[in-house]
Each structure stands twice: as structure tokens, then as C-alpha cells.
Point group: D2
């Protein structure tokens, strides 16, 4: 299929490379052109302006946040450059409000829109093993299914309203943060009673919590090494904010989200910008005045 | 080995039956004698008074809480009925304060003491697949290791001070409660935006949270069926209280524990006594005024 | 002095009437003209378009929120209709971000800008007994001081940067909400042990908490009557959100603010729109399943 | 009236001195005799054993906590040394559980029992200006009313069940702690935006929060001086624990209490033992990484 891909950060590059590998004709665009070079060497066509990347049957995008999506697709007029019938697959983790606004803007122009946020870090994306949440008009989802399958371990259909996929993504990221905080507090308790965090977490992640979410974050907590960041603290803070905004819109009290907000804010106040969000464990340890 | 077993609730009975099956000579006692009958039919010797169950090389006990352990072993004078050198293996989930008091009381009398709380529900115990946390003087732990292995998928050594095993158990149960609450809040958020809890939890427990703790509790939450209780609400509340007491003793702030305390208290205030503690999901739904 | 007044809700009308009474030549404008009639009868000049209300030496405004302020003054081009040297006194409770944006927009056009949020409800405003927080360039503040004094029990100078007055207002409203929540939880505790909320609150507000903030909100809580609203629930929720946004900008964890957000959200979820924000007491009572 | 007074700390000494000044024949006892000397010089009779202090018509006691009350009155057998008809007035801040146990123990022996916890610090007690909460059998309360009035600005009758006075005291202390925490968080927010805590708190405590509770604690927060302690941190932590225990008994969720528990615990973890509990302001400032 002739497809465009917009947004070539670590995630986007890995995802686009799997599309190329699956034999699709992929045209890529990124704000800073350097990021596109590796994909060119794999066989993707690199273009200088975004409008030239939206001429295929489908356009996939993996941008950083609401502001980037809004700037490129809405303010930048990119939707007007697409032919009717083109399907836009938006992989970004965005607010429900923007999700709804985008769905309407696409529909108004006769464009397809599929919300397709993903679970998985860059290494998982590179292996083509993402879990992709997909919501949109059935015909649109069906059209892009081969593309999604080229990048995914599994595609999870979530119905017609695009924001359904986004709320699942936000609720899932909230659960990740909660898992981290629960390890953080529990490890502080264990340490304060003489049990090393590594010993405690080894038991937990080999038994009740033998799941990727826990095993992945237990490692930096046990080793107290938060760089390089698997998922950067400011992004984590942003996502909890998106979950809280979604909760506000539907009037859902979420006390754990409030605790997470404060913990992440405390980590940011400590100057920890360029670290993994599992640095929540250091916040918990500082509050208990556990020494190094 | 000649062993005694005290406390034949659902857990204790399942554990004792595995000792019998492994060929040990097991003498059992329970406050209400009826619970001992099935074990008699398996080949255990049933006695009428607790002191007659503590005459072997080791005594294992699985009692409900601090009060029961204190009553049977300390107030009841059972320790004085044991021969020096006997090792007492205490499987109960108890406070760190009682754990230390018991360790001293045993040492004073020349008795061995091993703290050995377990992870796993009755069905896991029946299958001999518990995870057993074990802490105590090495010689004592070594002596009872064959007994523990007859009941366990794995025995996790946690050092010499018995309360180390207890704090790991309490921290682990806290993490379970936190996992439930995070599913509760996230599911309320999903439901409020039109995604069924079952659909949301299916994605989560098949991907990032593909672990026993999540899969086990996702089921009652998705089905909104909290009876029969896998782990009863009042016991869960008690265990969070024990974790908070351990946190207080070592001065460890645990904001998630505070949220859990209030959520469980709210469930109890609603009159939910005889239900699984995953009923926290109903608390979250009520707060958001989600209809049935 | 020749002054304009924009925004004639309950607060603005009461404030403008005191300016008239003090002998100032007041021109008023309100989006819906009916609200201006009572002021006309007092001697104010009523105009049909906002630009005609900004021709004096000073313009005071009391609008509902960020959106209204932005629409009237920034998007509506009203700043361009003012003569250089005119001082705009903004009494609204707005975000720190908008406060800074407004200060810059005024400075760029040679206009004065004084942030002057107030403490006090409509009856206090009518009595000319408001506490007015004032921050801005000293010359601007001095120029409008007679106007402020005509409406105030006391004017509190808070320095040059306008957002300083706004942060004090937001922090103060946060403290009000915290006072309500503390009465709500404490009253629930008292009621649950057989002491009527009215009896409990009578003791408190006559002794340790003999302050307007407590006495004013103890009344609806004791009587369980939340209509008419002294300060409406949705406005209270909005203000806690502004405080949280200010906290986010400066990275200040505020756990009480998180609890308040959830409590107010729970009240909103219960359908309580048109009530006083002290309805937090009903949220606390419902959580404890206290009957009526 | 011939009365005994037990417990001569700062509060008890000040209270007993007012009884002497009012012309009552006061016999005093304190565990460490040195504390009784100033009272002897005022005219009180000092005795060496507690049983000799309980021979009057009434016995007042002001002991530190549950443990001290239990030791002196229950374990020490002091109740058996009193003549039937003697009324014991217990001024201590104790748990509801102990309050009920004491009421029953007194009734069984034909002794009167009045729970009479107080609001006010030592200087207020010395001035005879305490607010005294009084609950007990009416005849007992009437009998000791002249004594209470000699020490009080006002006596607040709270009915017959003694624990009613205790729950009001605990709920009131919870409200004090909440007032401190709200000033702590609000001051951190103000400071982070450039407004000194002293400036912020001056506005608040002169306007909406012009009450003793706020004015008293605003001073140490503004000056960042927490010694000498007006109310010591460990005592404050204890009282929040008593409030939580009362909430647990009646199943009342109290999220603010949970936040306070963690804040006080964090202060204790920082090694702040001998300080006022308004040191919560330093906890809030540390979390926001505000410099000195």
C-alpha cells in the first residue's frame, strides 16, 4: 500500500521501518530531516514538506503530544492537502478532547480517522511487537489493518468512536504509573525494615507481579539507575495530566491519580528532568529519609 | 518428619494435606474440631488439645491474625509445652511487632522460630504451589526446608530476622491492594467514556499486566461479582492496617496506603462485609455515580 | 474620577454602586444590558458597547473567568480602544498565566494594569467592606487607590508583579476549600459517634475557629442546606483547578488540593451543580454511609 | 470543695493553680514530685502517693495519653481507692475506646466519670480561659461544674456519654492539623511565586482566617521557627492516630487525615522530634524544593 508516515522519533522510526519491511511504499516526513536518513537507507522515500507525505491511501502519524498534532494537522492545514477517502491513523497519546476534535475535522472533509495509540517502547516497536489499540469507522479500520498488523503483536479493536482507543491508552498509562508508585512505596517500606529493594522486588516480580510492566520498572528501582529514561518523567507527568483531564470531563474521582500527580511533581521539583518516571522510587525514599 | 499443624482453615487444611501427602507424620489441631476431619481421612492424627500437637520436631501454624496467634502461642502457654529445639514455623500474616515478640519468646525458651508467610490462595495451596517467604536462624530454616518445599512452588529465603519475611508479605499485600485500586479507578474512567470494564481489563491483563495478581482480580471487577470472596474485605482492611503500622514504626510515608485505607473503609461503611476486597471497584464507580 | 466598570454580576454591581456612591463618574457596561439598569437608577451612565466604557482614567472589570476576560479584553480588541495611560483594574479570579499575558499586553500599549482580586461575597461588596489584593506598577496602583478604597475594608498591597495578587487569591481560595473539607470530615466523624454536626460546629466556630471563613460555611453544613449557593460548586472546582495549575507551573506538590479536586468532582458527579461548594460535607457523609 | 489533681505537666499545673486560686482545697500528686513544688507554694497540699490524692469529692486528672491514664487509674488500682460517689474528671485527650472502658469501670464501682478534654495551651490554662468540653451523667457534671468554671472561659456540655466529649476533642485537633497543612501548602505555593509566607499569611489571618487557630500557627510558619513547640510533633501525630482510630471504629473515610498522617510521618522521618507540629510547613517546602 502507498502510505505516508509523519513523526520519526524513536517510536515512529521503528514503526515506519516495519512498514517498509512489510513491502509497503512508505513516504516519510519529519520536522528535523536528519531523523529520516536511516529510513531512506531502508527504502523509504523522504520528502521535505509534510503535504507531500499525505498523498497515499493512508497516513500514519506518531507525534509527541497534543500541541504537535494540532500544529501539524490542524493549524498547518495538512488535512486540506489530503484526498477524500484517505485514512489518517493517529498513534499519538493525546487528550480525549483533541481526539474528538480531530474525528470531526476529518469527517467534515471526507477523510477517514483511526485512533491507534500503542503500548510498547521503542525496542518493542522495532520488533514489530506493539499492542495497538484501534478505534474508528469500521471501513477505515479495515483498510489500514494490514499496516497495523505489520507493526503489532496484536491489534485490539475498540469500536467506532476514536476517543475510546485514547481513553484506554490513558487509563493504561495511569495503571503503569500506579504500578511504579506501588513498587516505590513498598520498596521504601522494605528498605526501612532492612530488606534491600532488589531482594523484595525479585520476589514480587517473579511471583504475583510477573508481568512486563512490573519487571521493566523494577530494574531501575532496584538498581537506582534512572538514566537513560525508558519513559521520561515529563512525558509521564503529561500523561497523568491527560488522564486527569479525561476524568474531569466525565467527573470520575481518581485519588491514585492525585497522588501520582504530586509524586511526579515532587520529582520534577527535585530537578529530575532527564530520567525515567520510575524515579518515583527516589521520591518515596526521600520522604522516608532513607539514606543512600 | 514428625510435625504438628495448628490452624485448619481453608489455607491451613490445604497446606497440611500436602505435608501428609509428602509422607510426613502430621498431628493436627484446630479450635473447632470439625475442620480436622478431612485431614484425618487423609491420614493425619487429630488431637483434642493444642499442646499435644506440638510434640514433634517442628510445629507449623496458620492462624488468622495477631490476636489468634497471641492467644494460642503466648497467652495459652503453648511455647512452654514444646521441647527445646523444636522449630515453630509461623505462616500467619502478622504485625512486625508481634513477629519480633515471638522471635524473642521462642529464643528465650531455646525454641526455633521461622517466619514463613505465604503468597497464594487456597487453590494454590492445595496444589502445593505456594510462594513461601522464609526468615529465621539458618539452622532452623534448614531443618524445616523439606516441609516448606512440600507445600511450595518456591521457598524465598529472606535472611535471619523473622520480621523480614513479614514485612515482605505486608508490602506484597499492599501492592495487591494498589493493583486492585488502580484497576478500579482506570475501569471507572473507561466506563465513564463508554468502554466496558471487561473490554478494558481484557486488553490490560493480556498485555502489560499479564500477571496473576491482575488477572485474578480483573475477573470479579469485570463481572461485578464479589462473592464468594477470594480474599475477604475485612482481612484486606486488616492487612493494609498492618502495612501502615509497619510504615509508622519505620516512619515511611505511604500515600497510596492512605487512599487504600479510605477506599476499603468506604466499602465497609457500605455494608460490604462478606465480599472480595476487589469491591474497591464498586467504590470507585459509586464515587463517579456510574449507573448500573 | 471618570471611570468605567465592566461586568455587572452580583459582585460587579455591588462594587460599581460603591464607586457611584463615592462620587465618581461611572460608566458601566455589561454583556446582557438588563443587569445595568439598577446602576443607571443610582446615577451610573450605561453604554451599549464595551469600548465606550473604557474612555475614563481607569477601567475596572469583574468578569467570571479566564475565558470571559480573554474574550472581552484580548480577543475583542478592547485594549486598543483605551487611551495610553489608562489604568485597567482587573478584579477577576484568573490564572497566573493569563495574569502575566495581560500584564504584558497592557504594558506593550502603554496602559496601566493592576491585578486586584477580592475576598468577600456580594453582601460584603455591597457594604464596601471587601478585602482587595492589589499588585501592579506603583504609579498605577496609587492612581486607582481612591477607587479601591471606596469598595474596601482594606487594600492589601502585594508588590509590582500583578500575578502576585492572583496567586494570593488562589492560595486563599484553596484555604477556604480546605477549611470546608476539614469541617466536612470532622462533622462526619462527630455524627458517626452520635454528636450532631450543628453541636460540633457550634463549639468549633465559637472557639478555635471563630473566623468568618468557618462561621460562614458551618451554617450550610450544620443545616444541610446548600441553596442558594454562596459560592457555587462549579466555580469552586474551577478555582481549585487554577490553584493546581499555579502549583504545576512552579512545581509545588499540594496533596490537600488533590483531595479537594476529587471531593468536588464527586459532588459534581452526584449532579450537584447549583449548590454551594460546602456540599463537600454531603460527600463526606455519603462516603461514611451516614443516613439522613 | 475538697479536690484532688493528678498530673502536673504544663497544662495540669496551670489548671490546678486556678482551682487553688478559686478557694478549693486541692491535693496534688505527680509522678515526679518536683513538678508539685510550685503548687505547694500556692497553697496546694502535695502528697507522695496517688491514692492519697483521690480522697476528696472530686478528682481531676490531666495525663499525657492512653498509656498514662491506663497505668495510673486502671492498672494501678486507683479506682479502688476512691469512695463511692467521688467524681473523676478526666481532662486527657484519649481514645474513644479507652473513654468507654473508663466510663464502665467507674460506673461499676459507683464512681462518677466526666470526660472533660480541653482546648487551649498552657498560657490559656494559666489565664483560666480554657474551653472545656464536658460529657457525663448530669449529676456528676453538675457537681464538678464550679471546678470547671474556675478553669474555663466556657464549659461546653456535650451530653451524657463521655466519649462524646472525646470525639469532639479529636475532631477539633484534626481540624487544627488541617488548618496547619492548608497554610503549609498555600504558603509553599505563594513562596514559589515570589510572595513571602509572612506576607501571604498576614493577609489571610487578618481577613478570612482571623481566628486563634490560624493566627497562632501562622507565626511559626512565617518565621520558620518551630521551637519551642506549642504542640509537639509527636503528640500531634498521636492525636491524628486517635482520630483515625475513631474514624475506623465508625467507618468514616477521612482523606485529609491520611494526608496529615503522611505529612507528620515525613516530618518525624526528617528527625524533627522536639518541634511544633506546624513544621508541616517545612515538609511542604521541601517537597517543592524551595530553597532557604
Amino acid at each position: 500500500m502507498k502510505v505516508g508516515f509523519i513523526g520519526l522519533g524513536a517510536m515512529g522510526s521503528a514503526m515506519a521501518s516495519n512498514l517498509v519491511a512489510a513491502g509497503h511504499a512508505v513516504t516519510v516526513w519529519n520536522r528535523s530531516p536528519a531523523a529520516a536518513e536511516p529510513l531512506a537507507s531502508l527504502g523509504a522515500k523522504v520528502v521535505r514538506t509534510a503535504d507531500r507525505a499525505v498523498q497515499g491511501e493512508a497516513v500514519l502519524s506518531m507525534l509527541a503530544n497534543d500541541a504537535a498534532v494540532r500544529e501539524v494537522f490542524l493549524d498547518g492545514g495538512l488535512l486540506d492537502a489530503m484526498d477524500p477517502g484517505t485514512v489518517h491513523v493517529n498513534h499519538a497519546t493525546i487528550s480525549l478532547a483533541l481526539a474528538k476534535e480531530l474525528a470531526e475535522a476529518h469527517a467534515r472533509r471526507g477523510l477517514g480517522y483511526v485512533a491507534a495509540p500503542v503500548f510498547g517502547r521503542p525496542d518493542v516497536a522495532a520488533a514489530g511487537r506493539l499492542n495497538i489499540l484501534a478505534a474508528g469507522v469500521p471501513a477505515s479500520v479495515e483498510k489500514v489493518r494490514p499496516l497495523l498488523q505489520a507493526m503489532a503483536a496484536k491489534v485490539w479493536p475498540l469500536g467506532e468512536a476514536p476517543e475510546r482507543a485514547n481513553v484506554v491508552k490513558l487509563a493504561g498509562n495511569f495503571m503503569l504509573a500506579a504500578a511504579i508508585e506501588s513498587m516505590a512505596e513498598a520498596s521504601a517500606l522494605a528498605r526501612a525494615h532492612g530488606v534491600a529493594a532488589a531482594d523484595f522486588l525479585e520476589v514480587m516480580t517473579a511471583t504475583l507481579f510477573a508481568a512486563p510492566a512490573y519487571q521493566g520498572y523494577a530494574k531501575p528501582i532496584a538498581e537506582r539507575r534512572y538514566k537513560p529514561a525508558g519513559f521520561a518523567l515529563p512525558l509521564g507527568y503529561k500523561d497523568i495530566g491527560l488522564a486527569q483531564a479525561a476524568a474531569e470531563a466525565a467527573r470520575v474521582p481518581m485519588p491514585f491519580a492525585g497522588v501520582l500527580r504530586d509524586g511526579l511533581l515532587e520529582a520534577l521539583a527535585a530537578g529530575d528532568e532527564d530520567v525515567d518516571w520510575s524515579v518515583l522510587a527516589e521520591v518515596a525514599a526521600r520522604r522516608a529519609h532513607l539514606g543512600d
